[in-house]
Amino acid sequence: MEKQPTMAVLTEIKDKNEQARFGSIHRFCEELEQYGSERGLFVYVTSPSLYLQRLGYQRSNGAWSKQDVPPANVIYNRLHSRSSEHSPAFAELLTRLAEEGGVMFNRRFLHKWEVHGYIERHRHLRPYLPKTSLWNDPGELEAFLSAFPAVFLKPIHGSQGRGILRLERQNGGIGLRRSTAAASATIDQPIDVFVSALWQQTTAPMIIQQGLELRSLDSRPVDFRFLCHRTRHNAWRVTSAVARAASPDQFVANLARGGELLAVNAVLQEWYPKSVAFQQKQLLKEIALEAAAALALEADGMYGELGIDLAVDIHDHPWIIEVNSKPSKHVEMVPAAKTIRPSAKAIVNYSLTLIEEKE
């Protein structure tokens, strides 16, 4: 008998008193399993070390239990810590997978600086990329501060809006806001003194990015998250799109920083007449798809799911803000019980496509 097509979700697992929990994607794994069984795809959840022992969590009668599992044809990498991807177990898993003829998608976290580099190789996307540099010399920040009214410093490995600094020239000094603090501070220092002090304090690698005058709702900056999935023949499609407005005391719209989830159409129609809103939405969607395809083409390894963050400035120009290779599942409008999110279906379908193309 032919072996049943099999997909493993790779993630961090907590197992207390025989109750396995898969963190923020627990519910999502149930949807994957449910839709997978409808489509004839066997889905189990595992971690790098469990996989090496041929163990995984299988669902039956609504409960997950640890079982012996067959090798996976496809592994969907949802490890949420970068260090898990650098563990010896992960490296061993990759070797094992290659020997068994399986494939992994969403090979690893992509950091902000490489993402910028990959997309920039596609010339036609450059108008939508804010000017960005790796901060490897204090002078570079001064140059940005004199070129742009506002500048962002972002940790290249940061996520969920953590550790972002917004700098602004203010009559001789610098206005400084941190994404983790509610208030802004004004620092009365010459720019070069301030910059070299900041450089001394900074340990994590950062990118410098041109600040943008984003369109806002009630003075709360807005961004858009397009969740994109790969289909057949290297094509991509948008499975969900939401707008996020920053919390009133924040400059980043991430939900983890108190951002509010809104419908894309509602936001765009607040800004534009209907026909313009339509064009803008299509354009955002098309840019998201091009950016996803560009990244998948340039980055090593395979990618089947990407979260593309976009924003629109006050001149109505769209911008690619960042790309997340382990996009949060909370941006999809919360599903009613027993329903399956489009992204879960997309992951199952893509896995089946990979298996079929491998034949």
Binding site: R123, H124, N234, Q279, Q280, Q282, E286, E357
Partner: protein, 449 residues
Amino acid sequence: MTYTLVIDEQTTGTVVLPASLPLAGQTMAAFGSLFVPCRIVSSASLTNEAVIAHDVARRLRIPFAAEVHVFLTDEAVHFGPLVGIFTAGFTTSPNRPVGTRSLFFAKLLAQQKQVGGFAFLFGAPHIDWNNGMVNGYFYTERGWERHLVPLPTAVYNRLPNRRIENAQPFHTITETLQTRYGIPVFNGHFFNKADIYRRLSTHPQVKPYLPATAAHITAKTIEQFLHRYAEAYIKPADGSLGRGIYHLAKKSGAYECRFREEHGDVKTLTFPTAMAVWHHLLAAAPLHRCVIQQAIPLLTVRGRPVDFRVHTNKDGQNAWQVSAMAAKIAGKESLTTHIRSGGTVKTLEEIFPDPGERQALISRLCDAALTLSRCLEETLDAFIGEIGFDFGIDRDGNVWMFEANSKPGRSIFHHPKLKEADEQTVRLPLAYAIHLSKTAITAPEALWP
């Protein structure tokens, strides 16, 4: 070679060129269809810069400084080329001027930087015939921009479909640009299968690549084809993408007809006579717009038939090049290997791991593609910049041409390993436009014999 155009805000009425350019008393600068009298001088201190006074640049309507080619005639120094990409379906959105195709054209226009000169997108409403100007869409590092420029030096026809192309206003526009203004228009027309076949079949060199094809389908032609070849296809003469294709076979005296239903399932019907098949088809398909074609027993990989997509382009030297190549493996239940119907795109490296076998196939496919490109160009009285071929290889290793498309789709080249090839197919039409521009400016008699 290209020169960096420098717009000089200090001087007026002058163009300064590197001494390496052989000047011969030219008295004008030109850009597209515009000429402006000015002083043209040489400077030994310039190597790859061309300095143009701001008033001359403004009067020539040069939209911005760029890397340019310089073409010399007896009278004028031309900066260019100025390539117009002609299409239809414009929206009112400045950020999305041609709807869903906007980023596709952005990608095409962004390649202009690689080859030098200017390229812009325009449609019928943007031409001001009275003043010989076009309000074109340029794609710069800032995104889409409008600039009023002279008529272009070459036009790349990218009308989206056959229906629009045949509509009178569009036909007249490309015709007028070419005949009245001497602006070469390339990729003027979608090919018609029957017409292509008729033209090519008179060429002894390419005849062996052509499966037997007939245009007027009667019960008798069906009978003849199935008698001679056992299997045949009926397909729309002007369609592509594998839609509306019927597969016919004669099996133990009965006539079998397979086709894909609208919702995607493959259906098989059996008929006792060729006449019965014909009657069925007459009701189901626009037979007067179809051709019947000999089916070729295709090379298979792991039991599945494979066909090949080979893309050729004219390059900057006016020579045909094979710019991209991919294989398509049929899905489990496929009528043809058109990827819409569920086949898989692979590189030749992926399906022919043996380098000797692969090289032999590649060289056969290249020979066929280049020979056919040259012959097609010869038989058609038009400038053709690119052709997409669908080829099959039979079990004896012979190459067969199933289709030649003058406006081939490109989704097949989204395969990660075909990235370079994909870029080539976007860049080469612009390179060819440079050749056409240069020839139209410096040696028009070579273009219009």
